[in-house]
């Protein structure tokens, strides 16, 4: 019974990676070294830019950034739906994230790639799957900003 109760109290959604926090609202976090380098790793051991040892303070990252580069993936592992747009998004805190780019037509992106460069984007989250223990697994993506 005790075990069952625990499952019930711990059945909430879980982030797909440790640098995605779901509360109070979904946002990304990083470890920030005094030299300015930011890492998408809340438990960063040391800084590979300057060599300083951690632990480092955790910083909340912006939910808005700009697309640096992208690609359109047409072939992947079984179970991954293609084509989709993958992108490297630069955040103002000085760190970049790898993400799916939503609401951008893959065909159009290939025809006019220059329209994607520098595009302002914002983070959104979605349920990506369910884990073995039944928790919803939450992933993040970016899409063109809507005002």
């Amino acid at each position: 019974m005790a075990q069952e109760a625990q499952i019930v109290t711990d059945s909430g959604p879980r982030p797909i990676v440790p640098y995605l926090k779901l509360e109070p609202k979904p946002h990304l976090i990083g470890s920030k070294c005094a030299c300015g380098a930011v890492y998408l790793d809340p438990k960063r051991v040391a800084c590979s830019k300057c060599g300083a040892s951690g632990p480092f303070p955790t910083v909340d990252l912006s939910e808005r950034g700009k697309v640096y580069v992208f690609s359109v993936i047409h072939q992947s592992f079984p179970g991954i739906k293609t084509p989709y747009v993958t992108a490297i998004v630069d955040l103002p805190e000085g760190v970049s994230v790898r993400t799916n780019l939503l609401d951008v037509d893959p065909e159009q992106a290939q025809k006019e790639p220059h329209k994607i460069f520098g595009m302002p984007v914002e983070m959104v989250t979605q349920v990506a799957s369910k884990d073995r223990e039944g928790h919803d697994v939450i992933a993040f993506s970016f899409r063109p900003t809507r005002n």
């Binding site: 640096y68 047409h74 739906k81 994230v97 790898r98 799916n100």
Partner: protein, 388 residues
Amino acid sequence: MRNVYVLGTGMIKFGRYPDRTVPQLGAEAAIIALKDAGLSIKDIEFFVSGNLLQASAMVGQRILQQIGQTGIPVVNVTNACATGSTAVREAYMAIGSGMYDIALAVGCEQMGKAGLLGANRDGVTDPAYNTEGKLGSGLMPAVFGQAGIEHMRKYGTTLEHMAKISVKSHQHATKNPFSQYRNEVTLGDVMQSRMIAYPNTLYMCCPTGDGAAAAVLVSEDKLRQLAAGRKRPKIAASVLTSDPWTERDLTWPDVSTLTRSAAKQAYETAGIGPKDVSLTELHDCFATAELVHYENLQLCGDGEAAKFIEEGGGKHPDLGGHAPVNVSGGLLSKGHPLGATGVANICEVTWHLTRDDRAKERQVPDAKVGMAHVIGLGSACTIHILTM
């Protein structure tokens, strides 16, 4: 460091060998290299084996169990796609340091039809936490597709420029009997083939396959004794770099900075400049990789890769141009059996420098200096410069 020379080389045609084992492939290349050097396995003092997919399976010892269990020291190395070239470098250092006089480096791989997507590095046990396809793509086609896109963004380069690289490499491969693919392709074929990861279409991605290559390296003293007057290439530079900290490297592997640093070190060590290089074998796992490495290796200036491809008049990277690149057909056509690749391009460069019959149809005229570049994602970059 003492001077180190390439005395013998051997490779088997890259392709598919489903009825052979990895050590058998390596053994075959080793025997060819030993014969080429005029030596037997009994002469070898130190052996380095490069293999990636069986990295924990003592491939080097298993090769000796095929060709001669002489009890010599064996080191198995792995360094992603730079595995084979790292094996060459370990052998180079063993001789250069003065510890040994004759060393053998073998690279071999059997990939079957496994894709070149790359390993899943998430390290998660519940697949629900796999990020591939959910948080973008970290696989090879995405990494190198984006490298081409970055060039597009910076310089306005087009897919057509990149596709021309594949046309050129396929053309070269028709002259290489060791190449996995030997078919010519047109620009239309390349641009209209199936898109894998924009901007790389199928013909702009290297195939997977099996293969092996070997090189026997010797000290200067041994060269005098063994070469019997034959001139052999000197390893004028053997450089290895890892990825330094750069802005986006941990999110999206930066394949350029470590190559640039390796090139700079290699030119300085060899005491030459890019203009002195007669031929270059560079790591064209994707056409977009070759594009950015033209600039990274200083074969042309920054932002000039598209012009470098387009330009006629003996300047382009074609065989017959003054900076021929991947006359073997490159990874795009010759194939890329991971651990074998870095040794195979030492073979290719050596053959041109020594007017070896194995380079006959594609011989670069007056070849005196050759460069071999390999990059393994994760990342490792090697550059070898060979001179006559």
